[in-house]
Amino acid sequence: MAERARGGAERADEDVVQLLKRQHQEIRDLFAEVEAASGQGRREAFGRLVRLLAVHETAEEEVVHPAARRAFPSGDKVVDDRLREEREAKEVLSELDGMDTDDPDFMPTLMALRDDILAHADSEERLEFERLRESTEPHKLVRMAKAVRAAEAMAPTHPHPGTESAARSILLGPFAAVMDRTRDAVRKAMGHDK
């Protein structure tokens, strides 16, 4: 199956709040790593930080914020406030992304971004995540964590077991058509296609 984007202490029964708090900690650690490194090491650490911020923001926006809006009465306002904080941080992030990490303005701008992002993460944890957890069934929170992990998975590094026959069928005709016929036949056989 797909490889994970990062390692870490994830568990199959981890809920989405635990997962996102763990990502917040990774973000804190990466800010410290960028600050401590120099030259190429700083460039690489900053690249990892930017990627994590983009992935984390996407997962929150795709899975967590829509659920929070529905989960508790002031959900819409709480999420809108978080999105406003994020918008401000994203502008600083865009500015930094166009800057060389050796630029004298880089570190002061990075520190400003860190303060904004950590304050935002703190608000999310206190005002959004805890209330989401209080008002959502535990199994749904675990499913949301699975969704976040799926949205961050890397491509597999092993071939599909049926690769050889698939390669041959491309020669026989468009693979998609073969696939559709097979699928239809199996669905009919299993009584799923009325």
């Binding site: 199956m1 797909a2 900053f46 690249g47 930017v50 990627r51 911020l53 983009a54 992935v55 996407t58 926006e61 795709e62 899975v63 914020h65 829509p66 659920a67 809006r69 529905r70 994203k90 992030l93 865009s94 992304d97 166009g98 749904k140 499913r143 949301m144 699975k146 969704a147 992990r149 799926a150 949205a151 998975a153 890397m154 491509a155 597999p156 590094t157 092993h158 071939p159 599909h160 077991p161 049926g162 690769t163 026959s165 698939a166 390669a167 491309i170 468009p174 693979f175 998609a176 696939m179 097979t182 699928r183 199996v186 669905r187 299993m190 799923h192």
Partner: protein, 178 residues
């Protein structure tokens, strides 16, 4: 939300982001390009394989791989000499139809909205209100990060491969839902 389609979604996303790499020298552009490609691929995959059974079947039979896509786009895989093992491996998980539908969604807001609506209640969503915002309402940063992937002319050959099937599926689903 099913993790069953995850390898197909991850590999097809990787194929799209490599074939239409933005050439951005920053770190943010590629990350945002990947995020929106993945949302488009996820929505397309859920539409093509809407049930757990559909997902299980395609994972057994295999999604077909990127062979025809590499040939169509002249992607690096077509270079002389066999691709190395790791490079070959992930390409076997690429789904040609899902890739084609995904670029249709990235270049046509109406299809993006219709697809997001069609998959909102599918089995993969598990009742969660999932939102593919980078596809249905991309902001200026999203558009700037994926100029090639969102360019209708550049993705036209890929979109044309299975666009008719996408239209048919959306039409059929609307009728079925009514």
């Amino acid at each position: 939300m099913s993790a069953d389609l995850t390898p197909l979604i991850a590999a097809t996303t990787q194929w799209l982001t490599r074939a239409y790499a933005p050439g951005d020298d920053g770190a943010l552009g590629p990350a945002l390009a990947e995020a929106q490609a993945r949302q488009a691929v996820t929505a397309a995959a859920w539409l093509r394989y809407p049930t757990e059974l559909d997902a299980a079947l395609v994972m057994i039979s295999g999604p077909g791989g990127s062979g025809r896509l590499d040939w169509l786009t002249g992607a690096d895989c077509a270079a002389p000499g066999a691709p190395d093992e790791a490079e070959h491996a992930w390409r076997t998980w690429v789904d040609e139809v899902v890739a084609s539908w995904a670029v249709c969604l990235l270049t046509d807001p109406d299809l993006a909205d219709a697809t997001a609506a069609a998959v909102a209640d599918c089995e993969h969503a598990f009742g969660l209100p999932v939102r593919f915002r980078r596809v249905t309402a991309p902001d200026e940063r999203d558009r700037r990060a994926a100029p090639l992937l969102r360019h209708p002319d550049l993705v036209a050959p890929l979109a044309a491969l299975h666009r008719a099937d996408l239209l048919e599926r959306l039409g059929t689903d609307h009728v079925r839902a009514a």
